[in-house]
């Protein structure tokens, strides 16, 4: 196959069309009207100020974890443990807020401490994965997966044990923090915190500059693409892998801290809300480059929020968003693989 400048965009457009096609088939199979469902998702995401701000609320943690996994992807690592790192960030942030709640410290300072604690929590959990890989020979996928379960168990134990509500412990989480410790939102009803949006945008910008414009980022790329050659070129490979885990953990921890301080105002059992895995999908979909991460993450957040309308309006399950997201990632990756295979064949047999 002869590859032109148009080949790649054509394959990607084909992937989007196929993903929509499969999702439509799923909808038809359930007997629902696909167009009505898609319209509901659209209006559920952008049909008003309230839902649109919900999209942004979901976009913030998703963009943060995406920023993080882009760093580990750059160095060639699969940080599946990102879910646990988000959870640990939330736990550490909760711990800080509980510790300083009611103290003489300025509430703003306490929130800042909670964010720093969250970053530290995520980083510790991520570096544990890195240490297991570097010193114990445990593949980061297995180590991360294992630590995800540990993080979930730790979270549940805290909610039902030491940090339980007075009286009866409940799946609804710990006692909400004092209102003074909530990250300020644009108004009383909204959960949209400008500071969190600012952090997320700054985060992806930092990752973009880090990977594209710094010596550090170039060395990360070199390690990711060929660790052996990178080592011979004088780059201390395992230290760079550890550093990328730490950076990714910081971003994951930030996402956890945002969920605790701005969205739920307490620790809940499913605090990571699957944003970690969704962030990995966004990272794969944007082909591991930071430039497109913000809009694609926004699209995914819109799908998530918009699909909340499905059970209400159409008696459909809201997991339809997941079907669309999953098939989209699959077809984009599949298209990429097929394109490379076809063009390689064209070269091998002249």
């Amino acid at each position: 196959m002869h590859e032109t400048r148009l080949t790649k965009p054509l394959f990607q457009a084909g992937a989007v069309a196929l993903a929509l096609g499969i999702t439509t088939l799923v909808l038809l199979a359930t007997g629902a009207s696909p167009f009505a469902a898609y319209r509901s998702i659209l209006s559920g995401a952008f049909g008003g100020w309230g839902v649109a701000s919900d999209v942004v609320v979901a976009w913030v943690p998703l963009l943060l974890v995406t920023s993080g996994v882009l760093v580990t992807f750059t160095v060639g690592l699969w940080n599946i443990g990102i879910e646990g790192q988000v959870t640990l960030g939330a736990i550490f942030a909760t711990w800080a807020l509980r510790s300083f709640q009611g103290s003489a410290l300025d509430p703003g300072l306490v929130i800042a401490i909670a964010f720093v604690a969250g970053m530290a929590g995520g980083a510790v959990w991520a570096m544990l994965v890195g240490a297991l890989k570097t010193f114990g020979g445990v593949n980061e996928i297995f180590g991360g997966l294992g630590l995800n379960y540990v993080a979930t168990a730790l979270n549940i134990w805290l909610i039902f044990g030491p940090w339980k509500r007075p009286g009866v412990a409940s799946m609804s989480g710990t006692v909400p923090f004092d209102k003074s410790l909530w990250l300020p939102t644009i108004n009383e009803q909204s959960r949209l915190a400008p500071a969190a949006v600012g952090i997320a945008i700054a985060g992806i910008a930092i990752v973009f500059v880090l990977v594209q414009g710094t010596y550090f980022g170039l060395k990360l790329k070199a390690v990711g693409k060929n660790p052996k050659a990178a080592y011979l070129l004088g780059i201390p490979t395992w230290q760079y892998m550890m550093a990328s885990f730490a950076i990714c953990g910081v971003f994951a921890g930030l996402a956890g801290a945002v969920q605790v301080t701005a969205v739920y105002h307490r620790l809940i059992p499913s605090i990571s809300s699957g944003y970690g895995f969704l962030g990995l999908m966004v990272g794969m979909l944007v082909n591991y480059s930071a430039a497109l991460a913000a809009p694609v993450a926004l699209f995914f957040a819109a799908l998530n929020v918009g699909s909340i309308q499905l059970p209400i309006v159409h008696k459909l399950d809201s997991s339809l968003a997941g079907v669309l997201q999953g098939t989209l990632v699959l077809f984009v990756l599949l298209g990429d693989g097929l394109r490379k295979r076809l063009s390689a064949k064209g070269k091998a047999r002249p």
Binding site: T214, Y215, A222, K225, N226, K228, Y231, L232, L233, G234
Partner: protein, 514 residues
Amino acid sequence: MRIELRDIHKSFGPVHANAGISLEVAEASVLGVLGENGAGKSTLMKIISGFQPPDSGSILLDGALASIRSPADAIRLGIGMLHQDPLDFPPLRLVDDLLLGSSGPLRPDRRGAARAMRELAERFGFDLDPDSYVDALTVGERQQLEILRLLWMQAKVLILDEPTTGISLPQKEKLFATIRRLASEGMTVLFVSHKLEDVEALCDAAVVLRQGELVGRSEPPFDARRLVELMFGKEVPQVSRRCAEPGRPVLSARNLCLDSIRLQIKDLELSVCAGETVGLAGMEGSGQALFLSSCAGLERAVSGKVCLDERDMTKSSHHDFKRRGVAYLPAARLEEGLVPGLSLAEHFILSEGSRGSGTAHGVFIARGAAEERATSRIAAYNIKGRPDSPVESLSGGNQQRALLALLREELSLILVEHPTRGLDIESTAYIWAKLKERCSRGAAIVFISSDLDEILQYSDRVLVFFAGRVSPPIDAEGLSASELGGLIGGKGWEAFDRESARAPAPSTQGATHA
């Protein structure tokens, strides 16, 4: 079974690995197949054993045209191959390893196979227990297992690829006895080797391959000198090679002992002076690569010392060696030396940035300056590429030039694996001009090559490796291609044994101070 090959051709891209090979092997005989690395031996054996099809040509078994499209076809026709690295399954029991290749009923007959295996083992005096595990075996025993498996599969032709590498002397004797016995019972054996003595000891006839062609056939008694000449071709005119007076010692290895799965090197002594070039000769896998990586801090010595400028570096990491002015250029350029996916300019940035602590370069990359520097280096090293060309798009010669261009300005020692493998004449001359320029500026060079001409033409002194044995350093001046070829094939080592105090015919000046 009688094998006949007719006009076998096989090309890999521009390389004509087998160029019209015709060959006949009689039933119940052992044919030695000799040739240096890259002569086409392995390609030919892979064609016979079904691993790859020939581009053209035909294979006749007992006079009938055979179509061999896969190893399974080959074994069905009675052709079995014993690979250099035995193709077995370490986590399995011996009997299961035996059963794997057979297409029996759904439930394998384990008991029957174990009985057959015991009988076969007894017949050949192998001490193999069908219920033990493959990973507990030595390389020699794994070979025995493979032979049993092929016999059990009713092989009538046995191809052995370098079977005497990495096995002990008693195991080798047992292997040879087995091969002789099999041949006397009617087995046709193809014995691939680069060891002349093995061929002399075992074979009923020998053929020599060179650059994809069959250049000679010889019957016993073998003339070792003629075989060497056939293997390596004609002697080359000597070129003046000394480019600078050797200065202070840069690298010294003292009583160095190295260990790998395949072989051990004992008590290696070498000292290399500034401005000097030392060539490491030998068949691939004889220990040269192991020694070279230990000089770069990539391989840890079992005992003994590696010193740079008299400083003990035995326990230092590669990056410490790098800081002391050592550069290592691996043979696998794209796999180990360069980073596919990154551009030439990015490689130059990485190599500059890795100098010293790296902090001197600040945080952000100055793309403009980097581009300029890359452009000037590309011009200086005559690389056919642009600063933004990804390295994998460059040709082999240009990749090697790029690796040289990445070297820092001030180096004391350059270690190179196969500096010109796969390069055309022009690139070869260019690479060596650049390397020798470094020598004249005071760097020492140690390089590995399987090309005799390259070793003789560019080295001041030569170290020959043979199955883990290392010769004392030999002055390249008085060394002829046939002598060197003999040493590589294991001939003429008695000279070193007889008198280790007195130097052998070629002198070993400046080599061994304890």
